[in-house]
Every structure is written in C-alpha cells, then in structure tokens.
C-alpha cells in the first residue's frame, strides 16, 4: 500500500461522521462532576480527631498538672533566693517525680478516665450509626 493511497484514506476517513451521544450528555457529566466534588469536600471536612479525643486529652493534661503541683507542695515553702540556682536540678527532679507519681495514680482516677473514655466511645459509635436507624 503506497503512501499516496494512505493519504487518500486519511482524507476519506476525515469525512467520517462519528456517533453522537444525547444532547444533554455534557450536562449529565458535569452534574456527576459536581456530585463527585461534593463527596470529596465532605470527606475533606470530616475531622480525623473527634471531640471526644480532645476532651480525653484535656483531662489527661489536667491530671498530669495536678500530680505535678501536688508533688511540688513540699518544696514551695523554700526561699526564692535559692530557686534560680536550683532550677535545673529541680526541673529534672520534677520530671522524675511526675514519672514516679504516674505509677502511683490511684485506681479510682484511672477508673474514672477509662469510664469516661468508654462513654465517649459509645457516644460516638451511637452518633455515627444513627443514620442506620432513621
């Protein structure tokens, strides 16, 4: 098959009338594009960490702070002139103390934390599945 015939075939095929979809085809595609966009936006808007997580975190920080303060009460009465030179050693002592007290957190406090976590988890689970029962 020579090149000229190939060119002629190309010219002939350029006259080919393609099949056409319905008139509203573009509109339907664009409607679906909008739906896809909205779905994507919803996924993006969903918070990875829920409210419950932040409540637990705040409670935990408060608990840590309380333990730390309680551990320092014995040394609070000391004179302020000795505070600055002792800062470094007190910092490390403080950290050690907090870590030490962590091991002695009363079972009741731990129980409260676990219970509140459980309640929050149940609350989230029920909320997320509400749609199933509507």
């Amino acid at each position: 098959m020579n090149e000229l015939e190939d060119i002629k075939l190309k010219v002939l095929l350029q006259k080919l009338e393609l099949e056409k979809p319905d008139n509203d085809f573009t509109l339907r595609v664009m409607n679906r594009v909008v739906v896809e966009d909205n779905a994507l936006e919803q996924i993006k808007a969903q918070k990875v960490l829920g409210k419950g997580f932040w409540i637990i975190l705040v409670l935990f920080v408060i608990l840590l702070a309380a333990i730390f303060i309680m551990s320092q009460t014995g040394t609070a009465a000391e004179g302020t002139e000795t505070v600055l030179p002792k800062l470094n050693s007190e910092m490390s002592q403080g950290i050690n103390s907090v870590l030490g007290k962590m091991g002695m957190v009363p079972i009741s406090v731990a129980g409260i934390l676990i219970a509140s976590s459980l309640l929050l988890f149940i609350d989230r689970f029920i909320t997320s599945n509400t749609k199933m029962f509507v």
């Binding site: 095929l13 393609l18 979809p21 085809f25 573009t26 595609v29 679906r32 594009v33 896809e36 966009d37």
Partner: protein, 188 residues
C-alpha cells in the same frame, strides 16, 4: 467560541475551575462515545461508559502530567473502561463477523467512490470492522494519532499495533470494495 489547547483547560480544572471541564467533555464526547458504542454495541451502555470514562478522567486529572497528549490519556481511560465492562459481562472482545481479506483490496481506487456518497460509504465500512481494528483506524486516520500513541491507548506493542493497523487497513479496503461492487450492481 475560541478553543484553546487541551492543557489550558486541564490546568484550569486542576486549579479549581471545575466548569471548564465541560469544554473537554464537549470536544471529546463524540469520539469517546463512538469507541464505547463500537465496543459495547448498545447506545445506553455506551452512554454510561462514556460518562464513566469522563468521570474517571476527572477524578485522576491530578495524575495527568502533560507529558503525553491529553487525548491519548483520555482514550486510554475510555478503552480500558469499555474493555473492563466487557470482561465484567464475560463477553469476549472479538468480532461477530470476520471479514476475509482479499488480494484485490490493495487495488481499490478510493477516487472511484462518488464524492456525495463518501461519508455514508466510509461510515458503513467502518461499522463492519471489528472493535479493536475500528479503534486503531479511528485513532490513526481520524484522530491522527501516532503508532506510539496508539500503542499507549490500546496497550499493544508498537510493532503489534503496526501489524494490526496494516491488517485493519486491508480489511477496510476489502469492505470498501464490496460496498462499491454492491452499489454498482444496484445501478446496473
């Protein structure tokens, strides 16, 4: 309305101007639908798959880097979507009516086709080609895609695409010959 380069619209859509995607859909809807129609042989299914192809392309537009032509990328998505749909339905991708290539096919004089009948004759001839060969001829002659681009769309190797295109061209000539003979008999 002045049509700009495909990449211009692609970049606009990527930057959040979703409405610009309608230019791309408008430009390519007929060829995408034609490929889907040829493979699926049903108007409703073809519309659904053509739509699906455009949505898939939209969703993965961020992966299109512009190293190849946008049309090549879109046709590959269309082709794969239609073939996957056929596989789902467990329909084999073969022609129902195999055209026998004849020696005289090479002697076909395209100038012999009357000007006023050309569009009808070529449409009829193309409709008789099997799905894969129709796609090859359509992309090479109508869309003026290179062998490299066609091999990217169809997943064939370049040499295989060349061989298949050669065979498809011969078949097309055979069909055109048959149509012209039939027309001649009708006139006589």
């Amino acid at each position: 309305m002045e049509y700009k380069d495909d990449n211009y619209y692609v970049e606009m859509v990527k930057s959040g101007q979703t409405a610009q995607y309608s230019y791309i859909v408008d430009k390519y809807k007929n060829i995408v639908f034609s490929i889907a129609m040829k493979v699926l042989k049903n108007r409703e299914d073809a519309e659904e798959m053509a739509q699906e192809s455009f949505i898939k392309a939209y969703k993965s537009l961020h992966t299109f880097k512009g190293s190849a032509k946008f049309s090549t990328w879109l046709y590959r998505i269309t082709y794969n979507t239609c073939i996957s749909e056929l596989r789902k339905r467990k329909v084999h991708f073969t022609s129902t009516e195999e055209v026998q290539i004849k020696d005289e096919a090479q002697e076909m004089n395209l100038d012999g086709i009357p000007e006023e009948n050309r569009a009808v004759v070529i449409k009829e001839a193309m409709s008789r080609l099997p799905e894969d060969e129709y796609t090859l001829v359509l992309l090479y002659y109508f869309e003026e895609q290179s062998i490299d681009e066609i091999s990217r769309v169809t997943g064939l190797s370049e040499s295989n695409a060349k061989v298949k295109l050669f065979r498809a061209r011969k078949k097309l000539y055979t069909i055109l010959n048959e149509i012209m003979k039939d027309e001649l008999y009708t006139i006589l």
